[in-house]
């Protein structure tokens, strides 16, 4: 075998070409990492947003979107009375009436100060069914107040200062004061704004609510579903919160597939580009390879050495991609229609990038290496 130092030095034989391979390969690996982080982040936020213990009771036919749902405001109390075995905390039953509302949030007086935002009208009972919600600053909203999720500013595309506690904002024509900031790690709620249930009912000019979220203790899903089936007059449906978000996740599957298809096409283009570069690089070394064969090196040993060069270049590219990804993409918030998630460049994603890079190096190297080593020795030794 040729020593590794031979491969290392060959890498630096033409610095411009090395730079081209490392940067080109690095960008492709970066794309792979970002596609994986995007897919994982979106999937993660939808998976984490639904609890197995929570049941959403909403209007029949609105199982696909709670925002379209309208049910009577009396449903929560009737449900609480009819279904036993719901979770209780300090004597309060975990039944949360909610309004999910997609509307305009106005931050200032200018024409461009309005943003489409996701609002949730709640009562303090919301904290019983969504225990992952934690206030990080300020207080829970009372009448005339609103609290904002930690990632709401990112989703709205405004600075965090625009949504700091004490700031006045407008929802519709109603002015509300920001009472606090909350977090709910890894869920869509972090990008929402929560207001008092009655305020949001008034803003939406509705008597109804969107849904009731209940948290099970000894009760089962069937107990809640039986209630919805018995009260046909209320036109209700029950769905596990986890199933609801799983359906939403399925809705975004084509988007994720498109992300991977796009990444795949770019990778395929990069393989051909890289192969072209290596064909040119190896073509100039046909005689050198033939000389080494004349000295006694097998074609297999030489192919391995050429592969080593590409793998080293790929590792450099991976390093470049990892640095860029960690410096500029890790922690980046990505808004989508029902929430916002943070891109996380995890060790798994870094590993995927490195593995992808090495695979590309192998696929892109073997054909040019074969072309370089295939000619008969007498002809190869005479080549220019």
């Amino acid at each position: 075998m040729l020593p590794l130092s031979y491969a290392v030095r060959n890498l630096f034989r033409v610095p411009a070409r090395l730079l081209q391979i490392v940067l080109g390969g690095g960008l492709v690996i970066l794309l792979l990492m970002l596609a994986a982080a995007l897919s994982e982040g979106m999937d993660g936020v939808l998976r984490s947003s639904g609890s197995e213990k929570n049941i959403i009771v909403l209007g029949t036919g609105s199982e696909e979107s709670v925002e379209r749902s309208e049910i009577k405001a009396s449903v929560p109390s009737e449900l609480e009375a009819a279904v036993s075995g719901l979770e209780e905390v300090l004597g309060r039953v975990a039944v949360s009436p909610e309004i999910h509302y997609n509307g305009l949030l106005t931050l200032g007086d200018g024409p461009g100060d309005s943003r489409q935002a996701l609002f949730r009208g709640v009562t303090p009972a919301a904290l019983l069914v969504h225990p992952e919600v934690r206030l990080v600053e300020g207080t829970f909203p009372r009448a005339g107040e609103i609290m904002v999720g930690r990632l709401a500013a990112h989703r709205l595309g405004v600075g965090e200062a625009a949504l700091k506690p004490g700031t006045q904002v407008k929802v519709g024509s109603t002015t509300l004061r920001i009472s606090g900031i909350f977090q709910a790690p890894g869920t869509v709620m972090e990008a929402e704004l929560w207001a008092d249930l009655n305020d949001l009912r008034a803003i939406g000019q509705r008597d109804t609510i969107s849904c009731v979220v209940v948290r099970l203790d000894s009760a089962t899903f069937d107990d809640v579903e039986v209630f919805t089936l018995q009260r046909l007059d209320l036109e209700l449906a029950a769905i596990r919160e986890s199933d609801y978000y799983a359906k939403l996740a399925a809705f975004y599957t084509p988007l994720r597939i498109m992300t991977w298809v796009t990444a795949g096409l770019v990778v395929a283009g990069a393989v051909f580009g890289g192969m072209n570069t290596l064909y040119a690089a190896f073509a100039s070394r046909v005689r050198e390879m033939a000389t080494l064969q004349a000295v006694g090196y097998s074609r297999k040993a030489l192919a391995f050495s050429l592969l080593q060069e590409s793998l080293l270049a790929s590792l450099l590219g991976s390093l470049f991609a990892a640095v860029i990804a960690l410096a500029f993409a890790d922690g980046l918030s990505v808004p989508f229609s029902i929430g916002t998630f943070l891109l996380r460049i995890t060790p798994g994603i870094l590993g995927l990038g490195v593995l992808g890079g090495l695979t590309l190096a192998i696929i892109g190297t073997l054909p040019p290496a074969w072309t370089c080593l295939r000619p008969e020795l007498p002809a190869a030794l005479r080549s220019a």
């Binding site: 031979y6 097998s298 007498p378 030794l381």
Partner: protein, 236 residues
């Protein structure tokens, strides 16, 4: 001299290849015996088959038919992989344009054949140093090919060819790219390798002055031997 004692023995060696659909036969039914320790020069016009014969003797190429024994081994029967292994320990090749690896130092170029042998680093270092001293470049071991003159590069190439101590050296126009003084030094060195180290050298050359350094000169024309100019070696 009996063929049994020949270091190189060719019998009915023919080489045919195809250029498109046209068969070309640069060597035809060639018989040759070369005793061990001979410095043989092959001369002839372009296309006479001398480089083809050199490549066959060096195991770079295989004959289409016939037998070709070198050191008792019929290399005509060896497959490509076997020939590669055989070359590593039995033959050193000296090229007209040196064919040194440009990114490696003189020392590392000479060391290349030894990396194929089960030798310790220390032993490799010793053998490389001996080879470089023998060609008079012991003080240039750290130099890269681009930092050496043509004559020095060819001497590094000779050191690479002899470092694994092969019995056979083949040289394809070894002085073809050198000035007269450097060429003379190289030819003296090759002669020294035959006289003092018992190597067998087969050299292709167009230059009568280079051929004069050999013990024997063979002329080829159209793939056949036409003249043997020495009593020590004969066309069989």
């Amino acid at each position: 001299m009996s063929s049994y004692e020949s270091f190189i023995r060719c019998r009915g060696v023919t080489k045919t290849y195809h250029k498109g659909n046209t068969p070309v036969t640069p060597l035809s039914a060639l018989d040759l015996d070369v005793p061990r320790g001979t410095f043989l020069a092959l001369m002839g016009p372009s296309g006479s088959g001398k480089t083809t014969l050199l490549n066959l003797i060096a195991g770079i190429d295989s004959p289409t038919s016939g037998s070709l024994h070198v050191g008792g081994v019929d290399i005509a029967k060896l497959k490509r992989g076997q020939l590669t292994k055989w070359r590593a320990s039995h033959v050193g090749y000296i090229f007209q344009l040196y064919h040194l690896v440009p990114i490696l130092s003189a020392f590392e170029n000479v060391e290349l054949p030894l990396l194929l042998a089960p030798l310790s680093r220390k032993e490799r270092h010793r053998q490389v140093q001996v080879a470089l001293e023998l060609v008079g470049l012991g003080d240039r071991s750290d130099h890269r090919p681009s930092e050496l003159s043509g004559g020095q590069e060819q001497r590094v190439a000779i050191a690479r060819a002899i470092v694994a101590n092969p019995a056979l050296l083949v040289a394809d126009e070894p002085t073809g790219d050198l000035d007269r003084e450097s060429a003379t030094q190289i030819l003296n060195l090759l002669r020294e390798l035959v006289r003092e180290h018992g190597k067998t050298i087969v050299m292709v050359t167009h230059d009568p002055r280079a051929a004069a350094a050999a013990d024997t000169v063979l002329h080829l024309e159209k793939g056949r031997l036409v003249e043997a100019a020495d009593l020590n070696m004969q066309a069989a």
